[in-house]
Structure formats: C-alpha cells, structure tokens
Symmetry: C2
Subunit: 117 residues, 2 copies
Amino acid sequence: MDFEIAEQNIVDFEKIEKIKKVLPQDDLIFEIAELFKVFGDSTRMKIISSLLEDELCVGDIAVLTNSTPSAISHQLRVLKQTKLVKYRKEGKIVYYSLDDEHVREIYEKGREHIEEV
Amino acid sequence: MDFEIAEQNIVDFEKIEKIKKVLPQDDLIFEIAELFKVFGDSTRMKIISSLLEDELCVGDIAVLTNSTPSAISHQLRVLKQTKLVKYRKEGKIVYYSLDDEHVREIYEKGREHIEEV
DNA sequence: TAAACATATGAACAAATATTCATATGAAAG
DNA sequence: CTTTCATATGAATATTTGTTCATATGTTTA
C-alpha cells in the first residue's frame, strides 16, 4: 500500500505543531500586513515623513510630494482608514496630522534598518 | 499680466519651505517604503511570524503558511534581499531565520497599532 | 447668488506583484 | 550512478493598486 499523500517536505513535525499553537490568527496577521502595506508606498511614506514635522493641508502635501491634490486626497483616505492620520477642518481647508505615536515609531524602526544595513 | 502657473493650493509657503529642508531625500524615503512593502503581504507576514519563534526550513514554512514550497521560496528570496532573513544549509535542507532585531521591533509596533485601534 | 477655490470621489488605465506550473539544481540514499 | 528529495528559478497569469481625469461637494468671497 502506498500513500499518495505524503507528508512531503516536513522536516520537524513537532516543531511545526508547537509554532502553530503560538502563531497569531490568520485575520490578525492579515491586518498587520494590511497596515504595513500602507507604509509600503513612496507617496504615502513621503506624506508620513512630512506629517512627522507638522500638520499640513492637502494642497501643501501635494506640493511637498510633487503630486496632484487628487492623488494625495486618495492616499490620505487610505491613511485615514488605517487610523494613521486624523484631520480637522478650517473652512474649506482640511488639516491632516498623524493620529498615532506608533506611526513615528514604526517609521523610525524602518529608517534604522535601512540606514544600518 | 496674469500668471498661468499659479501657486495654487499652497496655504502656507513658509511652512512648506521649512519642511522641505528637513525631509529625507527621495531615495531614502523610497528605500523605507520598499522595506515596509516587504512586510505588507500576508504570506511574508506569516513567514516572519513563524521565524519569530524559531528557525525553519522551506518545507516547514510552507506547511505553516498553507503555501507551496515554490511560493515560499520566492518570498524568502524577497526577505533575503531585504536582509530580513538569513539562512544556513544543512545538506539539502536550508534553514531560515530572522536576520535583524528590527524585524521583531517593527512587527511588534505594527501589532500594537492593530490591537489598540 | 455667482464665481473661485480646496478637497473628495468614481471610473478607467497602467504598472506592479504574488502565485502557479514546469523545470532546474544539488545533495542524500538506495 | 540512478532515484528521490529539498529548494530554487523563470515565465505566464491573474489580481491588486496608484495615478489620472472628469466631476462633485462644500466653503468663501466678490
């Protein structure tokens, strides 16, 4: 009798079981990945870099990033949805700022990695 | 005389100039974004989560992530290129492990953000 | 109230990218 | 030395995603 479905490639079954137990749930891992995906774009990264310095309105961010206000608005929506930025309105002008100290910390860690390697 | 090229949308010119001076260079921002892009994928995030526990070979990672060894191998290449994982060979088996304490720190910060919001 | 302005939004297009499949490489075992 | 096994890799495909363009919303000013 030959088993077609071999336990192929598994080197250490016990180790796998042990790690399986402590691994975060799929949906948590998914959410973490989604968060980092937001950091993983040059335009958004530049927006974040800028907002690390001061609150800014859409038009000013567009100038700083060499983008169009439309493109920036789209990206700010992404940052808003992920709770990375917040905003306040002053007439027709909307000022955006960072919403979470984690943003700064994550950014710093990323920068450290780049600058050290 | 009318200026076609208006300084449209600029709200605070001085603020912009000030921030422009302290903003990281475009290529640094690009590299940081590229780094986070690597974290921004469920499969790679799961690989990283697993490697936070122990070193693992390709086959075992494939099992843990419900992926094929081929897909994992592709992703490990990405993680290798970004200096996030290192490996050691033992015969035909290749063991991967995290290459940088930043990986753990970045992961933790991301997780904190998700779990607090 | 009409015009100008800042921002937002939806659809469409182009570019990037993760997985699959077939195959290659290189090591261990028979 | 031939087969089996673990991993790697290239090409192709399918999906995701960022930007653009046109237009909408809402606010200020003329």
